[in-house]
Amino acid sequence: MECKIEVNNKMIPAREGESLLEALREHGFKIPTLCHMNRFSPTGACRLCVVEVEGMKDLVTSCSYPVKDGMKVKTNSQRVIKARKSLVELLLSNHPDDCLYCQRNGHCELQWLAGEMNVKERKYFAGKLTDNPDYSSTSVARDPAKCVLCSRCVRICEEVQRVTAIDFISRGNETKVNSAFRKGLNVSSCIQCGQCIQVCPTAALLDISHLEKVQAALGNHKKQVMFVISPSAIASVTELMGFKAKDKVLERLTAALKRLGAGKVFNMGTAADIHVMEEAGQLAEMLKNKDKEHQPLMSSCCPSWVRYVSVFRPKVLPHLASVKSPGHIAGSLLKTDYAREHGIAGENIYTVSITPCVAKKYEASWEKNTHQGVSEVDAVLTVRELFRLLRSFGLNLAQMEEEAPDSPYQQSSAAAYKLGYSGGKAEAVARELFRIMKGNSKEKFRFLQPKSMAGKRETQVTIGKKQVGFAWVSSIAEAEDYLDALREEGRDDIHYIEVMACLGGCAGGGGQPISRGFDKPKARKKLCGDMEKTATWQSASENTVAADFFARIPFRGNKLWEQANK
């Protein structure tokens, strides 16, 4: 119900029952928070959002206090400011204070808060936290000494991913966020999605850095370093730098990477097109054979989803498509096909994927992706690491000239950009399936994308007399609920499910630049959509390089593919 409340002597409209924090933020009042997360239930743990409400003896946490008609609120009274400052000072009392050496220097919410609260000295002295960091995992690192126990990572791991790889251990001032039995993340149930890194306000959660590896390879004259940039990483860079889709960010990146010593720079788009063609082919086969055992086919390009299924839901394994992810298609193509054609020894090629994903670091370590101990993808840089690399070389993309990526993996179809967000891949696969099943008939391809990101997540595509059902989910919780619902209702009209472990798909990936709030995935999705329009081709198979690849290496059933995918 609409009502009015008085804030700092100003009347503002609000809705009765909504949280006070929501109402205040909606009207531009700045309220600091550490534990608050949009779309999550409030915990009132950090207490930074305290405000003064007339008639209440104590300060109240605005995140968990409902709006009442006519209430009078003060957000900036001396009492409030003093309380907030003390809270930050207390949080800093056992902090290691090594900002200069910290990866999150400049991107740290605790640092910002200390600045905003005008903290000038260490007021409370407690023993600095000295917990050992955990670098055991292939993609996610933890540094508990930097942890402020805000519980964001714990909640996202439990509520969004249903994994609970990390949780609060022990009690009181002994409380620590840790994995089961205080063992490393490498032996936990962690699916390496990196959503915890995205929400962490400090540097308590980080990615396992491949930067040093890449820099060493760049300095090694025997190695030819080949960067492969994924379309979703391009969207991410575009968004962060404030570019537009037409600003040729890939070309700028190519020029920049060449300057820092890259041998070759490729567009992962072609590999993405090959991936889509192969997956659509498998789907076509499933439909042709009326294969109920494998229905619905599920996408397998998300390593976190694959990990989740193999640990928590092994029964779903047969449903996963057996296609390598775009990054590894690119990696194996470069080390075999490309190397042969250009007379380079495969072992002298050093492949680096640039993606908005931390789980790709984990995927690169899978046994099936390595040959005699050497991975198809030698290093994976997240978009965050890419920016650190560019910065350490003093390269500014805004002033960079444009240079076309190297042939043959230069361009991509619109499909490749669609892989960057939830729902996009399903559409790309549907379009490709349409082409496989209908050839060049005049029938028009229609795929209804919902307008909002929270909209309905399935659609039916008409192909001739056939109805093919496509669905897409992002986050494990959504995937689990959707699969449960399908089973309970006994539905068999869904043939393909696109699953991405991160919220909003790769647009909300764990390797994306750190940002507060959930609006960034939406912006990146929109950019992907804009870039689709600039793409040379509409559907994956129109990509001449990808099509040529399939002409040389026969479609599915090819033994090499099978081997590679097993």
Binding site: T164, D167, F168, I169, R171, A180, S189
Partner: protein, 157 residues
């Protein structure tokens, strides 16, 4: 490992989240402590993440994650005992038993646990050894108690 907990699980046929702590208590009563394997098995039965269970169990002082000694000392550190000098007693006891609080010695003879309050404040300070209370203890009586236990152990050897 799962099978030897089956008889415990049968008492909790619905296998709900709220059964977690009672199940853990029964397991600890029977086995003396919660091992990683048992926590795994409980997780499978209740469909709760292993780490969630570990988090819950570490929240409570009463759950143990390693075996206790043949003589399990619980020293009370409640307010009354604390005022009566339990901290000094703890230091002395750690010296006598050659274990730190929360540990079990290598031979498996002694283990020491610090309890919040054992509920006998009128008799403070006190220590409990294998469910038996020793009250109004002093440094001397503590030494005597440990000496007697060691003597008894040597006799049985």
């Amino acid at each position: 490992m799962e099978s030897d907990l089956e008889h415990i699980f049968t008492h909790f046929p619905n296998g709900k989240r709220e059964d977690l702590i009672p199940i853990l208590q029964v397991i600890q009563d029977e086995k003396g402590f919660l091992s990683e394997e048992t926590i795994d098995a409980v997780g499978k039965y209740l469909r709760i993440s292993t780490n969630k269970i570990y988090g819950v169990a570490t929240f409570y002082d009463n759950f143990r994650f390693g075996p206790v000694g043949r003589y399990h000392f619980r020293l009370c550190q409640g307010t009354a005992c604390h005022v009566a000098g339990a901290s000094t007693l703890q230091k002395e006891l750690e010296k006598l038993l050659k274990v730190h609080a929360g540990e079990t010695d290598k031979s498996g003879l002694f283990s020491l646990e610090v309890a919040s309050c054992l509920g006998a404040c009128g008799l403070a300070p006190l220590v409990e050894v294998n469910d038996e209370f020793y009250t109004n203890i002093t440094l001397e009586s503590l030494k005597e108690l440990v000496r007697m236990i060691r003597e008894k152990e040597n006799e049985t050897l």
